[in-house]
């Protein structure tokens, strides 16, 4: 870099921001000034003054307009469209209102439908073996029409497991809330209204409801076992206390039984289709309802 030339960066900067028609003459004046300063005051002062002048020239009338002609056209076209639209709205108020309401509610509906469908798709996706889980349903002949219902015979599960090699594991479930009124669980003095579900032993192995306390292989081995939710355990026994081995009393449909807590399951994910606070064994259900096979 030549020491006796104005700083190149600032020449470029000036060329960049200055209107093209003015660049030549102003830059010439600046360089002339620089050469004069160079002789009278030395390099440092000359450069400093040059830089300062370039900065001082950054003002209205010198700086290029921000929009060049082409961009200006797009801008004015947009302005024109907006103006026409607003005039149209003022002139046709009713159809404007109808359009506005129609479009916005349509858009809102679409978004809500998307949210809903998305929610449906997310259902039960948290199960690890989700792609290998199937629910067996039951076709019945109802007045010459075939109706598909969820309840299946209690014996079906075991039969499928025994006779179909493709069936790896089987779980029979009496879903929460499907039988009778809500039960009441009691521990010492505390009583709580809860939702119970009856399942067979492999339940926690097939479905991914993680256990906080207890081993998923043997929590439901005996008829008097019960697995409770973390929240229920907190409410009944208290936080941080292992509820295993504690006896709880279960009141339902005028009957009372005592069960021993063997495990605690973690809070259920929001996208689960099965919601329950207590898990009993299917055998205890069958004992209480001997007419069901």
């Amino acid at each position: 870099m030549n020491r006796n030339r104005p700083p190149g960066f600032f020449i470029q900067l000036f060329k960049w921001y200055c209107k093209e028609s003015l660049t030549e003459s102003i830059l010439g004046d600046l360089e002339e000034q620089f050469e004069e300063d160079l002789q009278q005051h030395g390099v440092f002062t000359a450069k400093r003054r040059f830089v300062w002048n370039v900065i001082r020239f950054f003002r209205r009338g010198i700086v290029k307009p921000i929009y060049d002609a082409q961009k200006l056209n797009i801008y004015s076209m947009l302005k024109h469209h907006i103006k026409l639209a607003i005039r149209g709205f003022k002139r046709f108020k009713t159809s404007f209102a109808i359009n506005l309401i129609g479009l916005s509610s349509g858009l809102a509906c679409t978004l809500f439908i998307y949210l809903w469908v998305n929610d449906e798709w997310m259902k039960d996706k948290f199960h690890e073996n989700e792609d290998r889980l199937y629910q067996v349903m039951h076709n019945i002949d109802a007045m010459n029409k075939i109706e598909t219902i969820k309840p299946t015979p209690a014996l079906l599960g075991q039969a499928l497991l025994d006779e179909f090699p493709a069936v790896e594991k089987m779980v029979s479930v009496v879903p929460a809330g499907s039988y009778g009124a809500n039960g009441i669980v009691q521990y010492e003095e505390k009583q709580l209204k809860t939702l119970e579900q009856y399942v067979t032993a492999d339940y926690f192995e097939v479905f991914s409801f993680p256990l906080k306390i207890g081993n998923k292989k043997d929590v439901l081995t005996s008829k008097d076992n019960v697995v409770i939710s973390e929240e229920l355990s907190k409410k009944l026994v208290g936080e941080g206390i292992d509820p295993r081995g504690k006896s709880i009393i279960w009141h339902k449909d005028g009957k009372t039984h005592t069960y021993v807590v063997t495990g605690v399951f973690a809070a259920l994910p929001a996208n689960t289709s099965e919601k329950f606070d207590l898990i009993f064994t299917l055998d205890t259900f069958l004992d209480q309802h001997p007419h069901i096979i």
Binding site: L22, E24, S25, I26, L27, G28, D29, L30, E31, E32, Q33, E35, N53, R56, F57, R59, R60, G61, I62
Partner: protein, 110 residues
Amino acid sequence: MGRTNYLGEFEELILTMVLILEDDAYGNTIVKAIKEHQNREVNLSSVHITLYRLEEKGYLESHMGGATKERGGRKKRYFKITNTGKVLLQEMKDARTKLWKLAPQLSFNA
């Protein structure tokens, strides 16, 4: 005088300087002339801005020329006062003289 014919103090100064410098009126010489005759430091950028504004108003005209080895070989933009500009300066001077005639005699001994 209408709004468009109005000149500011600085604009008048620049216009007068262009008139004085005749054929050698461009940014740097104007700055120097003001320093010389009025002992006043003005910034090159303000001079340029004012020159272009006066040109736009039609009191000045400009042409490019005089490329030399100095100034990095760049051309100068020479300014010349137009007839409109001359008339305006004359009008302003007359108007001021008229006003001064109306004023009481200045006395500096009070």
